[in-house]
Symmetry: C2
Subunit: 147 residues, 2 copies
């Protein structure tokens, strides 16, 4: 968990990723949408590329211009963003007051739930038990994510 957090754990990064999911691929488009300082945006994009979440694609050689495109690793962050958004919508904005809403392909405003791939049932804390798979210490995990 901490590893994923170290990738998305910054408000600007989260907004950059949100916009990437909405189709934004170019520096100037993020800059215009978010009003973020150019040096901050450049640093965040560089970090996301270093994490393998975005990759660059040259779309013009003269002058050199590049797009930033989500990788498979980056696309897999969508559930994290949606879960963060669902919590914020409910507990910060209040139901029905979020500034942005997603519409699912079925036509409904998205209200997402976590379900179990095996049985299809909704997942709540009461349904889960945890078991360690190996003796990796928390300290080790923290050290790994700090690199």
């Amino acid at each position: 968990m901490a590893a994923a957090l170290s990738v998305v754990g910054d408000p600007w990064t989260l907004l950059i990723l949100r916009d990437a999911f909405l189709g934004v691929r170019r520096f100037d488009d993020w800059q215009a949408r978010l009003g973020v300082a150019r040096n901050v945006l450049a640093a965040r994009l560089k970090t996301l590329v270093a994490h393998g979440v975005l990759e660059t694609r040259l779309y013009s050689e003269h002058p050199p211009r590049k797009d930033y495109v989500l990788t498979a690793r980056g696309r897999d962050l969508m559930p994290v963003l949606l879960a963060l958004k669902a919590w914020g919508d409910r507990h910060v904005y209040g139901d029905g007051c979020a500034p942005l809403e997603f519409v699912h392909a079925c036509g409904a405003v998205l209200s997402p739930s976590l379900t179990c791939d095996a049985c299809g049932g909704k997942v709540t804390a009461a349904d889960l038990t945890a078991r360690p798979r190996e003796a990796a210490s928390v300290g080790q995990v923290m050290a790994e994510t700090a690199t």
Copy 2:
């Protein structure tokens, strides 16, 4: 999204919350499990109480001793934690190598998916379109979440 991140946006906080979902309620138990410095743990618990994610319950008056229990607002963070864990398991540890696994009530090792409450279908980025609900600027959202 940024609002939720401001609550969970720290590796220790995430581990404290993970253990809370696994039933940990007492200062000394977190301290022993996580090996976190006592002043760090105390500060994180205080912040989680201030955010309304945990609440304290006195379980002994002499001497005064308290439990920390997840609130409804806190329990609703579970999808965020599970989504972060699923991403880390897949992209940091590799499939089958995570240090901790959850078993769902159905008996299967949990592999969670996000599904649409309206149609029951899985949610992928390609299935979503976004629309603004109001003219709240990103700057405003950032300012709100910074308080």
